[in-house]
C-alpha cells in the first residue's frame, strides 16, 4: 500500500528543517559577523540562553498539550527574589533552592488547577499570574535589590566546572531528565496523546486534566531552577528581572517546531530553537543593532515560525 509512503515537503521540514536553518544561520554568522567565531563568544551564546532554554523545556510540555504559560518573566522574579532572601538569611544555597522549587510547584499547581478545574484559558490564567507574580516580587523585596548572596549561589549562574559554565551543565541535566520523561515514560506518551486528541486520550483511559496539571508542576520546577540561574548570574535578587523572558522561551519552542495547536514537538527541537534564537540575539549585539530593533526582529521570528508551522501542517493535511 503506497498510502503509507507519502512524504512531502511539509513533513520533511517538520523533521529536518530546523537543523538546516541552524546550520545556515551558523555558517552565515561565522563567515560574515566579526567576532562570532571566537570560543569566548560561542560560550557567551550558550550562557545567555541557559536561563530561557531551561524555561523552554517546561514550555515544550505545556505547548505540546495545547496550552501556554506567558508568566515566566514574573515568576522568575518572584521565585528568584524569595530564593535570594532565603539564601541571605540562612546562608544555605540548598535551602534557597528547595524553597524555590516548592514555590515553583505551588505556582504550577495553582495554574494547572485553575485551568483544568474551571476550564479557564491558560492564556488568561497566566496573564493574570504575570501581573500577580510581579507584584509579589516587588512586595516581598519592598522594591529593593537583594544583595549579599553566598558565593555558592552566584556559582550557579556564573561559575565554571572545568571549561564548562555551571549554568550550561544545569540546563543540560534538565534537558536530559525532561527528555527521558517525555520520550521514555507513559506520562510522556500521554502528553502527546492529550495534546493531539484529548477525546481519544480520554477514551483510552487517560485523564487530560491530570496530564495537564502534572505538566504545569514540571513547568513550575523548571521555572524555579531557571530563577536560580538568573539571580545567580545577576549576583542579586532583582524584583524587576526576567522581563519578557517568556518571549524568548516561547520563541525557542515554536522555532524548534512544536506546534501551538498541540500534539507535536520535541525537546531536541526546542534546544535547537533556543540556540537559533541565541545566535540571532548575539549576532545583532555584535553588530551593534539597537536593542529595540532586536525586539522587533524577535517578534517577526515568532510570527514567521508559527506561519511556517501552520502552512506546513496544511500541506501535510493536503497530502493525506
Amino acid at each position: 500500500m503506497n498510502e503509507n509512503k507519502r512524504v512531502n515537503i511539509g513533513q520533511l521540514y517538520g523533521k529536518y528543517g530546523i537543523f538546516v536553518i541552524l546550520a545556515i544561520i551558523f555558517i552565515v554568522s561565522a563567515l560574515f559577523v566579526p567576532g562570532f567565531r571566537s570560543l569566548y563568544n560561542l560560550k557567551n551564546v550558550l550562557l545567555a540562553i541557559a536561563c530561557t532554554t531551561t524555561l523552554a523545556f517546561g514550555a515544550t510540555f505545556v505547548i505540546i498539550l495545547g496550552n501556554i504559560n506567558i508568566s515566566y518573566g514574573s515568576e522568575l522574579a518572584f521565585i528568584g527574589c524569595i530564593a535570594c532572601m532565603v539564601n541571605v538569611a540562612t546562608g544555605s544555597v540548598l535551602i534557597a533552592a528547595l524553597v524555590a522549587v516548592v514555590i515553583g510547584l505551588i505556582l504550577g499547581a495553582l495554574t494547572g488547577f485553575i485551568i483544568t478545574k474551571f476550564h479557564i484559558p491558560a492564556f488568561i490564567m497566566t496573564l493574570a499570574l504575570t501581573e500577580a507574580a510581579r507584584g509579589g516580587a516587588v512586595l516581598v523585596t519592598k522594591g529593593q535589590t537583594i544583595s549579599g548572596l553566598t558565593p555558592s549561589f552566584t556559582f550557579i549562574g556564573q561559575g565554571y566546572v572545568g571549561p564548562i559554565p555551571m549554568a550550561i551543565i544545569i540546563m543540560m541535566i534538565a534537558f536530559a531528565i525532561m527528555w527521558v520523561i517525555l520520550n521514555r515514560t507513559p506520562y510522556g506518551r500521554h502528553v502527546y496523546a492529550v495534546g493531539g486528541n484529548p477525546k481519544a486520550a480520554e477514551a483510552s483511559g487517560i485523564s487530560p486534566a491530570k496530564i495537564t496539571f502534572i505538566a504545569y508542576l514540571l513547568d513550575g520546577i523548571l521555572v524555579a531552577i531557571s530563577s536560580l540561574l538568573l539571580m545567580g548570574r545577576l549576583n542579586s535578587g532583582v524584583p524587576g528581572a526576567g522581563l519578557s523572558y517568556e518571549m524568548d522561551a516561547i520563541t525557542a519552542v515554536v522555532v524548534g517546531g512544536t506546534s501551538m495547536a498541540g500534539g507535536s514537538g520535541t525537546l531536541f527541537g526546542t534546544l535547537v530553537g533556543a540556540v537559533i534564537v541565541g545566535i540571532i540575539n548575539n549576532v545583532q549585539t555584535l553588530m551593534g543593532v539597537d536593542s529595540n530593533v532586536q525586539k522587533i526582529v524577535k517578534g517577526v521570528i515568532i510570527v514567521g515560525a508559527v506561519i511556517i508551522d501552520v502552512v506546513t501542517k496544511a500541506s501535510a493535511k493536503k497530502a493525506r
Binding site: M1, R6, T185, P186, G196, A200, E202, G205
Partner: protein, 505 residues
C-alpha cells in the same frame, strides 16, 4: 416538461460520496398543500436528498424542477430566495441574540445602511402572535428550551414565505406539547397551500400528518403513494424489504457462557444529558449482543456512560456477578471493559502519532522495564499486525494516513494488547470497505470464541441480524424489546425501533 400539479419534482437523482452511492436514481414529486413524508432506514439517503434540494449538496446526476421550471446548480441562498426553506435536524441558534435577530439573521430589514430594528421587532412579534407562539420578539435565544429553538426555526421558515418547507426530524428533540404546536403549524401551512417535506421515523406521527409517502431504501427510490394506502406494518416491510444474503461469518457453534456483564436500571437524568432511562441487560461470555435502533435512540449514549465517558445518574453495573463502579474511562479499562467508539477519528486515534504510539497507548504500563521498552511495544505491534492483517508499511507511520479499515484495526489492536473481558463496539464497520468489513466480523467471532463478551451497536440491520446472538432494540432512550437470533427479522426490529415511546413518565 414538468407537471404543473407538483411544486417540486426531483428526477433520477444520483449522488456519489467516496466509496458509496448515497442516492441512486431517486424520484420525488411534491404536491402543493400536502404533507409529504419521506421514509427510510438510517442511511437510506433521506437527509442527503433534502440537502440536494436545498443546495447544500450538488447532485451528480438528475434534474430538479421547481414550480415547473428546471433548476440548475443552486446554493442554499438561491433556494431560500426561491421559497424553499429547510429546518435542520441540528439547530444552530445564536444564543446571545434575540428571537427577532435570529429569525432575520443575514437578511435583516434595512433602513439605509442601518438595521431597521423597529420594523424587525414589530414584524417578528406579529409573526409569533399569528403562529400562537408564546414568546416575545425581544427575548434572548438562550432563554428558550431546545423545543423553543425548534419552534423559532419554524417561524423563521414561515417568515420567508416559503412554498416548500423541509423538516428533517423536527420532533426528535421536543416534547409532546411542542409537537402539538408543531403539527398545528404544519396543518395551517398545508391549508395555505405550502408543501411540507417531512422526515420522520415515528409511525404514529407519520400516519397523523402524512398525505403522501415516499419510501427510500439504500439510496434507491422504492415507491410513492397516498398515505391511505399504507399501514405501519406495510410501511416497515417496504422500508426494509431487501434480500438478506448471508455474508456474515457468524459461527453459531461458539459456546455461550455465563453472564459476564450486567447493567441494571441505568438512567441518565436531565442534568447529566438525560438520554436514556431504565436500561437493563445481560451479556454472556462468548456472546455478541447487538444493539439496534434508529440513529439517536440513545444506544451510544448508554455505552459511553458504561465506559465512563459520560456520567451515569443511577443504576448498577455488574462484572462477573460483582457490582462495579465506573467513574471514568480509566476505571472501566482496569476492569477489562473496552470501547471502540463510532467516531474513530475523534475518539479512537491520535491521528498525528504513529501506529506504534497508538497501539501502545492504553497499556503503556505493560511495557515498563524501569522506563518504557519500545522494543517490547514493537513486538506486540508486529503481533497485532499479523493477527489483524493491518496493512501498514511501517509502525512509525502516522495513524491519520491510513484507510478507514486499517484505522479501525489499529483501534482494535490498541485494546487487544491488553486484557479485555467486555468489548463494546459502536458502529465497528461504518465507512469501511467490504473486504475490511468482513475481516472485522471474522475477528469479532474469534474474540467471542475466546470468551469475550461483545456488545455491538450497529445501524445496519443486515449486520445486526448477521452477527448478533441476541438483539436489544432501543428507541428514544428506552429498551423496546430484546429478540433472539431465531426470532429476529428486519421487520420486527424496525417495528420495535419505531414503536413510539410514551413521554409522560
Amino acid at each position: 416538461m414538468a407537471h404543473e400539479e407538483y411544486v417540486l419534482e426531483m428526477r433520477d437523482i444520483v449522488k456519489v460520496f467516496p466509496g458509496v452511492r448515497a442516492l441512486d436514481g431517486v424520484q420525488l414529486k411534491v404536491r402543493p398543500g400536502k404533507v409529504h413524508v419521506i421514509c427510510g432506514e438510517n442511511g437510506a439517503g433521506k437527509s442527503t436528498l433534502m440537502k440536494i434540494i436545498n443546495g447544500t449538496y450538488v447532485a451528480d446526476e438528475g434534474e430538479m424542477y421547481y414550480k415547473g421550471k428546471l433548476i440548475g446548480p443552486h446554493t442554499v441562498q438561491d433556494t431560500l430566495e426561491m421559497g424553499i426553506a429547510m429546518i435542520y435536524q441540528e439547530l444552530n441558534p445564536v444564543l446571545e441574540m434575540t428571537i427577532a435577530e435570529n429569525i432575520w439573521l443575514g437578511r435583516e430589514p434595512k433602513n439605509g445602511a442601518f438595521v431597521d430594528f423597529k420594523k424587525m421587532y414589530s414584524d417578528t412579534q406579529e409573526l409569533l402572535d399569528r403562529l400562537n407562539m408564546p414568546y416575545k420578539a425581544t427575548q434572548k435565544m438562550y432563554e428558550l428550551s431546545i423545543a423553543g429553538h425548534q419552534l423559532i426555526e419554524i417561524a423563521k421558515a414561515i417568515s420567508v414565505n416559503a412554498s416548500v418547507i423541509i423538516m428533517d426530524e423536527p420532533s426528535s428533540a421536543i416534547g409532546d406539547k411542542e409537537i402539538g404546536i408543531l403539527f398545528e403549524q404544519i396543518f395551517s401551512l398545508r391549508d395555505q397551500g405550502v408543501a411540507i417535506l417531512y422526515i420522520s421515523h415515528k409511525m404514529d406521527e407519520i400516519f397523523k400528518i402524512a398525505d403522501d409517502i415516499t419510501i427510500i431504501r439504500d439510496g434507491k427510490w422504492i415507491e410513492t403513494g397516498p398515505a391511505e394506502d399504507y399501514n405501519p406494518d406495510k410501511l416497515v416491510a417496504r422500508m426494509v424489504g431487501r434480500e438478506i444474503t448471508n455474508v456474515f461469518p457468524k459461527d453459531t457453534t461458539v459456546k455461550i457462557g455465563d453472564v459476564i456483564f450486567e447493567a441494571k436500571n441505568l438512567t441518565q437524568v436531565k442534568e447529566d444529558g438525560g438520554r436514556f432511562r431504565n436500561i437493563s441487560f445481560q451479556l454472556h461470555a462468548g456472546e455478541i449482543l447487538g444493539f439496534a435502533g434508529l440513529v439517536g435512540a440513545g444506544r451510544s449514549e448508554v455505552m459511553r456512560a458504561i465506559f465512563g465517558l459520560d456520567p451515569l445518574s443511577s443504576g448498577q453495573l455488574f462484572l462477573n456477578g460483582q457490582e462495579i463502579k465506573i467513574r471514568n474511562t480509566q476505571e472501566a479499562i482496569e476492569k477489562g471493559i473496552a470501547m471502540v467508539n463510532e467516531d474513530r477519528r475523534a475518539y479512537g486515534l491520535v491521528l498525528g502519532r504513529s501506529i506504534h504510539h497508538n497501539i501502545s497507548l492504553v497499556n503503556l504500563k505493560k511495557y515498563m522495564k524501569g522506563l518504557l521498552d519500545d522494543k517490547m511495544i514493537s513486538e506486540d505491534v508486529e503481533k497485532m499486525r499479523n493477527l489483524l492483517q493491518i496493512k501498514i508499511a511501517h509502525e512509525n507511520v502516522e495513524a491519520g494516513t491510513l484507510s478507514g479499515g486499517n484505522q479501525q484495526k489499529v483501534v482494535l489492536a490498541k485494546w487487544l494488547v491488553g486484557d479485555v473481558k467486555v468489548m463494546i463496539l459502536d458502529e465497528p464497520t461504518r465507512g469501511i470497505d467490504v473486504g475490511a468489513k468482513s475481516e472485522i466480523h471474522k475477528l469479532m467471532t474469534e474474540f467471542a470464541r475466546e470468551g469475550m463478551g461483545i456488545i455491538m451497536i450497529s445501524s445496519e440491520l443486515p449486520e445486526i441480524l448477521g452477527m448478533s446472538d441476541r438483539i436489544v432494540v432501543m428507541q428514544e432512550g428506552v429498551i423496546q424489546g430484546v429478540l433472539d437470533r431465531q426470532e429476529a427479522t428486519q421487520e420486527n426490529i424496525m417495528k420495535l425501533a419505531t414503536k413510539g415511546v410514551k413521554k409522560d413518565e
